[in-house]
């Protein structure tokens, strides 16, 4: 109880900073996922369609995904010539991680579309582009969106690392707690907000998926 009182007191004094960190966190976490999602759709299609691209692209993705986030955050400025404190490094690093994950799930999703559905579309005279957005993409959505959920949740927790090099977001509450001599209220507030944000984002994608794939519910209730 005493701890809750301390948390309340911290929020009373630093409420504005906490809200600001939360908003920065949302921005820094979601912009990269959005960029990666848009890029992953054509890339995933390429991986499925162009046979020889599959292996190098997926290998590069998995190697990239292996690199620890702090290392990538600090190497990027040297590679692209930005300042270490520039938030663009965080956006690019997280977009790369998300892309590495989403290219795989998007190509898996497209590869799992029933060939009969595609053949039916061909027989009905759909152009390749229309076939892609009207048949293959919707049918691959369950797998594609499952990947998007993982990438979004992972990003929201990974953004906190950026605080270690002085960039905003909820991670700043952790470093704040550290600077105050391991004062727990800001650390706990940051943890709770970050996990809650991840849950809300996850739920939003689940709801979007329900709305976009009505046939899945019909099949499940049968």
């Amino acid at each position: 109880m005493e701890f809750l009182a301390e948390v309340r007191k911290y929020l009373e004094v630093n409420g504005e900073t906490v809200v600001e960190s939360l908003l920065q966190h949302i921005w820094l976490a979601l912009v990269p996922v959005a960029i990666a999602f848009v890029l992953s759709l054509p890339l995933g299609w390429l991986v499925v369609r162009v046979g020889w691209l599959r292996h190098p692209l997926l290998t590069a993705s998995s190697i990239l995904y292996t690199i620890p986030s702090l290392a990538l955050l600090l190497l990027l400025p040297g590679l692209i010539g930005t300042s270490i404190l520039d938030p663009i490094n965080v956006v690019i690093a997280l977009a790369l991680y998300s892309l590495a994950l989403l290219v795989r799930t998007t190509s898996d999703g497209l590869a799992a579309v029933e060939p009969q559905a595609v053949q039916a579309a061909v027989a009905m005279g759909y152009t390749p582009l229309r076939r892609w957005y009207a048949v293959e993409l919707p049918l691959s959505l369950p797998v594609v969106l499952a990947g998007l959920r993982v990438a979004t949740v992972a990003n929201i927790s990974m953004v906190t690392v950026a605080a270690l090099i002085g960039i905003g977001g909820l991670g700043q509450l952790f470093t704040r707690g550290f600077q105050l001599g391991f004062y727990t209220p800001p650390i706990v507030i940051g943890l709770v907000l970050s996990v809650m944000l991840a849950l809300v984002a996850d739920l939003a994608i689940v709801l979007a998926q329900r709305a976009l794939t009505p046939w899945a519910r019909v099949e499940a209730s049968r």
């Binding site: 690199i67 702090l70 290392a71 990974m158 690392v161 270690l164 952790f174 996990v195």
Partner: protein, 240 residues
Amino acid sequence: MTGDSFSFLLDGANWVPGQSDGFPQRILEHLVFTSIAVAIAFVIAFPVGVLIGHTGRAAFLAINAGNAGRALPTLGVLMLVVALAGTGLVPATVALVILAIPPILTSTYAGVHGVAPDTVDASRGVGMTELQVATRVEVPEALPIIFGGIRNATLQVVSTATIAAYVGLGGLGRYLFDGLALRDYPRVVAGAILVALLAVALDLLIAWLQRVLVSPGVDGRAERAPRRSSRLVDLQPNER
């Protein structure tokens, strides 16, 4: 990135074994933290995962552990544990273990749970005890998925052990934070490149272990191998 950025990494003086701030020592520290944490997490999570997967009880625990583990910010967990238990090797290891448990638990559960019911029934039918079914049938069948979990846990731990240097732990993260504090970018580059290489090397090592330990009949290698007879015609009506 100029050639100057690599000056620290390529300086032979930093590669002399035995000195406390040299690369060999820091790499060794990083490997020790990582292997201790993953080993402890495995000892805790693997039996629980097998038990839940085999009995089907408390499955929500294993499923949600994976989701919760992904949502937990590693830096926050590290800070909280250190704030509650103090700095030093033991609290940092506790934090690393907490982060390594969810991927191993969830993958072990998913792997064991996903074994075909017919296979499990057949094992019971030939007179295996429940323990034998779990250890001789379900775990070997689930190994590829379990290895996936171990790989994820290892990556998570290598990455977080780097961050742990912020609260005073050794390992390769030292170069990153010392380099930032000293405004010595070549030092940062050296640490970042070494930790990235270490992560990739560990991942390859586990992938190799997986190849050695997983039966060719389980991961499909036996099927892909050319056979002398049978299958004169490959029936693949769904091929696009």
